[in-house]
Amino acid sequence: MKDVETRPKRYERVIILALLLASLPLILGFSLLTISSLSTNMVTNLDPDSFHSTLENWINLFKGKIATTGGIRVNIWRITLNTLVVALGVAGVVTGISALAGYSLSRIDFRGRKILMVLLLILHAFPGVALIVGVYLLYRLTFPQSHDLVGLYSFIYVILARAALEIPMSIWLMKGFFDTIPWEFEWSGIIDGASRITVWRKIMLPLIKPGVLAVALFAFLAGWQDIIYVRTFLIHPTLATFIEANIEAEYSHMPLIAAAGTVYLLPTIIFFITAQQLLLQSYSGGIKG
């Protein structure tokens, strides 16, 4: 006799089929995008005759040519690096702040704790677009006079602004993870004379490693995929803004844009495949102690 509840097998197949059907449009969309990037023209239906294989799009993309005979070169590696800087920056800021704040909210009963938790939820309810006018005003107010600093400033600003949108939810996620760790782990550390910050760093963080990684992952993807904030505040292009500016349905060589789109999708696909288990844990709000 099994010690856990199991679902009847006949339902399992139905559920898998339903999930597969639900994901079919996405899988189909991603597949057509990738196939198109390897074709001379866009493959927008399932007609095999419309596929004419070529590697030209990928070669042109890595050469930075935005059209097959176009004379403009862009540095696609630099654009990818810009995207990576924003994504990693957002991931770093969000993870750092939410790990500290989540711990405080979980463990310390300070004044205004409950109000802060409610406010964080309210903050999360605001979509980024709704805040953009205010965020832009602040951007203009703090804009550096020196042109040499503008590039750096715009990176820092977009990372902070984008991270700010992710932080409220991430704090709640981290709090959920910290809540699952029994007090005894900390007490033993504190009795041995460790400070709160040492306990947090040396005992608690290793215990919630899956949670930290999940939050970092979500934040990374948020930074990687963002277009509105990046377009408004960042001086340099990222993959999102590059693709957007070059999707001009009449002029663009769309299979080349499909190749850029595939590059843009890669981290998302890789992360979701490799971190499925981690994501499931974070969605359920914690880990087993």
Partner: protein
């Protein structure tokens, strides 16, 4: 609670004050001035000396452009202008040089405009900005581009070489804000092979179109015959979308107008719009024009239908001529490929957009691109406050140089846009110059040569140059889409109405009423659009 309220009020006041400070007028601190004489070399040398005396050894500029991949001279023209000015300085021992730090070029000109709008106030937009004349009034009104009326006075001889209508398109409230970079016409293409099958004689057709003898009723007659006799799948294919204002040619062809210069308002010319929609409706109902064409794909449906001869008529643009050669739209042999120049010549006849009714005027439509100078041009350079005027005049001289006939002619030939200067129009007829261009044996920046090499190989051909020479006359019949800030909103409504009419969801009369309702429902549009005339009674199409 009271303290919190006080803090809140203080914050609001601070915010209001701060926002008032943003975008304020900059103090005019320019101290050094140079007078332009109209002698280009002399002016360049004078500016070079002033820069040298002020310790400036390098002047940095950036160029922003947009459009189809073959139109890259829109930014490389600036690179070449910098090289030519540098050469003048070097030849005369002046130790200053211009460096183009960025050539930013994207496909979507609307996107480029929005990016310029958002980055100009922050001082992060390009020093040179080439885009549609339609955006010029807004940019000029906002103070985002430089007024060059006074500078241009010294260069009247150059200005006089531009086609006057294009110079007019570069003005706002009578002041000059840019120099024309290119323009185009939108011919009606006719497949010669399909025409031959149905006995449609194309001899002197362009003359009949010019005289108003061949009208849209004739287009309908031959389109129907081509369809009925199985010579082509469609009678007519046309462009789609609202950003591309091609279909408004119908309004002008039926004697209507879109803009009232007396009060600066857009015009909804009800009779002309009704006739336009009726023609579209009739073509679609008779199966001559795809009823879902407004959602057709450019690369997979619209262009292949035309280059593969599945239609008799096509409302297109001059740039199609080389686009059909450089893009792989033709897939009749299996693997998609571009057309050869000889094939394009053999298969396509071209003429003006015919008049709507007998005795009317044929038309075409242009959307000139204009070289504009950022009102903050040169701000990244040393001593900007002192030398602002010098930098601005240097920027002006750069667009004068970038308008050199050979630079303009190169752009025209490789992108199939029409020259904006008469001297450039003459140059493209010069066979020796064309051969030199084909082999890139011309005086051009090496980097530019490298980057346009493939386009040159694919497009420079006597047939293409001849085409440009042949269609240049169309500029005499050209109309411009209104350069009005609310025009895009009206164009969107037109697009919806055309789509609904083509699909048979509305009759032409219902579609006109739909446009009127939509205009009236939008307070800003209602204020900016004048509704003129009524739906004509007893109007028939096709006419006898």
């Amino acid at each position: 609670m009271r303290t919190a309220a006080v803090w809140l009020i203080a914050l609001v006041i601070l915010g209001v004050v701060a926002s008032g400070c943003i975008g304020g007028e900059e103090a005019n601190t320019s101290k050094v001035d140079v007078q332009l004489s109209g002698d280009f070399t002399k002016d360049v040398l004078e500016i070079g000396k002033v820069l040298e005396q002020n310790g400036v050894k390098e002047v940095k500029f950036s160029a922003w452009g947009s459009g189809d991949p073959n139109s890259v001279m829109r930014v490389y023209g600036i690179v070449e202008a910098a090289r030519r000015i540098n050469k003048i300085w070097a030849d005369n021992g002046i130790d200053v040089k211009i460096t183009i730090t960025e050539t930013h070029y994207v496909a979507s000109f609307q996107d480029a405009y929005e990016e310029y709008l958002s980055k100009q106030p922050l001082g992060q937009a390009g020093d040179f900005f080439v885009n549609s004349y339609a955006f010029l009034p807004t940019l000029a009104d906002e103070g985002y581009i430089l007024e060059i009326t006074d500078y241009a006075t010294a260069y009247q001889s150059v200005i006089d070489d531009f086609y006057p209508s294009l110079i007019e398109a570069s003005k706002f409230k009578g002041k000059l804000y840019g120099l024309p970079q290119d323009t185009e016409a939108r011919p009606l293409y006719i497949r010669k092979d399909v025409a031959q099958k149905i006995g449609f004689d194309l001899t002197d057709l362009d003359e009949k179109v010019k005289n108003g003898e061949f009208t849209w009723s004739d287009v309908y007659y031959w389109a129907k015959k081509a369809k009925e006799e199985g010579a082509a799948e469609w009678g007519l294919i046309h462009r789609k979308g609202s950003a591309h204002p091609d279909l408004i040619q119908f309004i002008f062809a039926f004697g209507g107008k879109l803009y009232n210069p007396n009060n600066g308002k857009l015009v909804l010319d009800v009779p002309a719009v009704y006739k336009w929609l009726y023609v579209e409706w009739k073509f679609a109902r008779d199966g001559l024009l795809p009823e879902d064409i407004m959602s057709w794909d450019w690369a997979k449906q619209i262009h292949p239908a035309v280059v593969e001869g599945r239609t008799l008529f096509d409302i297109g643009g001059t740039w199609y001529w080389t686009e059909w050669q450089t893009k792989q739209y033709y897939a009749k042999d299996g693997t998609p490929r571009g057309l050869k120049p000889e094939e394009v010549k053999e298969w396509f006849y071209y003429t003006l957009f015919p008049a709507g009714e007998k005795g009317g005027e044929p038309v075409t439509l242009s959307q000139p691109f204009v070289w504009m100078i950022n009102s903050k041009a040169g701000q990244l350079n040393p001593k900007y406050d002192e030398l602002k005027d010098v930098y601005h005049k240097l920027a002006f001289l750069m667009i004068i140089k970038a308008s050199d006939p050979d630079i303009n002619a190169i752009h025209s030939v490789i992108s199939s846009h029409l020259p904006v200067r008469k001297a450039a129009a003459e140059l493209i007829k010069d066979e020796k110059w064309l051969n030199d261009l084909k082999s890139l044996n011309i005086d051009l920046d090496e980097k530019v040569k490298d980057n346009i090499r493939e386009i040159v190989q694919a497009t420079v051909h006597p047939i293409n140059a001849q085409f440009l020479a042949d269609v240049s006359y169309m500029l005499e019949y050209t109309h411009l889409a209104p350069a009005h800030p609310k025009y895009p909103a009206l164009a969107d409504i037109f697009k919806e109405a055309v789509d609904k009419t083509l699909r048979g969801e509305m009759t032409p009369e219902e579609a006109v009423n739909y446009i009127i309702q939509k205009v009236k429902a939008d307070p800003e549009l209602a204020q900016n659009v004048e509704i003129q005339g009524e739906v004509p009674k007893d109007w028939k199409f096709p006419q006898e």
